[in-house]
Amino acid sequence: MSRRRRLNDQTAPALLLAMPALLGLLLFILLPFATALVLAFTDLRLGSPLAVNLVGLDQFLYLFNDPDFMRALLNNLLFAAVAVPLQTLLALALALLLNRGLPGTLAFRTLFFMPVVFPMSLVAVIWSLIYAPGPNGMMNAFLQWASFGLWEAKDFLRDPLLAMPAIMLLSIWQGVGFQMVILLAGLQGIPQTLYEAAALDGAGRWRQLLHITLPQLRNPLIFVILVTTILAFRLFDQVQIMTRGGPENATTTVIYETVQAAFARQQVALASAMTVVFFLLVLAITLLQRRFTHHQREVA
């Protein structure tokens, strides 16, 4: 009964109006994903004359025994484990500073946010120049100056130990503005009277941060952390442009491996299996976020 009642004389025009968007979703999101899901269980290779076979979980088994893919997964985890907390802390610190209403706030907010609007490919090219090897490279020259000449010039992007930190640094630089803006909006939503009440109740600056700011900022913080985590798993542009996954797989990532498999080696089925693994990871993170924020909604 109730199901039937929902269909009325507005149903047809509603469907008609929603059609373009639904069609887009279907064609560009749902269909490719379903295709990838199916292909992940086959042995399809582009341009191969052999017939396509269903191979069950073979591709997944292969993936988890593939040292390159496992390294990529590990790199992603490492990247997330370092970049997410650092970036969030930095964003929080910047947001707190900007929220104090000091002179020049607008200029600094613009400056901090600017890298976010630059295309990553451009940022990567510029940072490649910054990381240029030899004592004349900008970063090397700076470190030499800052360490009173103790620093020896390194080739950041070709050093297995330094390549990943170098990419982390530029990623944090590029992404921190976005988080900062979200946290700043959250900070500005905290009523001033809460701080006044806390001050009268005897809380100094530090305890106000601990007991008022952080609990009040809980939802934006969770959002920011999870979005950054998902972005960390999507790490690709920087790697593609600056290191091509090297040196010695030090900077390879799941997406980079996927692109390599699909477009360099034509292993479409294997690449599909990788995207399915990636999807499951992101799904897990999203579910985690839902759990946290749902919990919050219940108690607020």
Binding site: T193, E196, A197, A198, D201, H211
Partner: protein
Amino acid sequence: MAAIEFNNLTKRYDSGIHGIHRLNLKVGDGELMVLVGPSGCGKSTLLRMTAGLEEVSSGEIRIDDRVVNHIPPQQRNVAMVFQNYALYPHMTVRGNLAFPLRMQKQPAMLIEERVRRIAEILDLTPLLDRRPKALSGGQRQRVAMGRAIIRKADIFLMDEPLSNLDARLRVEIRGEIARLQRQLAITTLYVTHDQAEAMTLGQRVAVIDRGLLQQVGSPQEIYERPANAFVARFIGSPGMNLIQSSLYRENGGIQLQLGPRRLPIPQRVLTDFPGLATHSEESVLVGIRPHAIHLSDTDSNETLPARVCTTEAMGHETIVHLDTALAIDNSHQARGDQTHLLVQLTGHHNFSAGEQLAIRIGIDDLCFFDSDGEAIR
């Protein structure tokens, strides 16, 4: 417990506007002082300066003889109830009540015990594990009160604590606050824009307008002997009628020109208001409370004709707006424009608009103000 003293206290904003101008006031130990005035008069600024939330431009605030101008709010041992309560939304009622004690690093046992006691006093025990969002306005108000009284503060500051409640609850909690304050005997500054609240609550009332202290005194004093035309108009519901008039010296006595009538001022009134003698031959403002104007059945030398404009029936009383030959003064208005003479009659009266009445004004019920609005005494 402590006494508060404001000496030449001034708050100037960057725009040059005065929030408070050279205010001098003493609040005794254990006293409940009500600060009342129209919105924007500076009363909340005064409260916030006392709390340390607003900087003092000049002058000083003393709490127990100690100048506190530069002491941060954390160290003033002052508790405040905010207009919007400012409860911590992410904490339960228990957490909110315990917060000031936790900030003092009190032992957990003691905190628990005091939370329990305060919850009992304020009837909050069943609500202890709820969050502010799940409380009604009155319950939130009680939590805010509890958070203020749980630690032994020297001073309570209350910033319009009842303005977010409905009328019935307001009367109820008003009584509760008065009782609690007497019981705890803590020096309290209470800010309100509601003159009725000020009159019922305050041991003393300070009337503030445009950053200037207008009058301090007991509710009765302020009602019966307002220091100036502003206080006369602001206190009372409705406020005092102010009539432009003049004094004349005639036949050795002083006479008052009230519209078309010229009334001799009897000696007993002149004894009460010796200042009248020095203001003869001047224009003055005559103040009369709306309830002191009476209807008269007969036209005579002592009555004035009046025409009914509108009536407000309140059940137990009727307020009648009258057009008369009297010139109503508008320059000392607290709110709105008033051009009619207001009369407050007990009981219910049916008047139709345009109806002609005769009113009688008793010469003993008058207050007098000079042309600047200052009371003549």
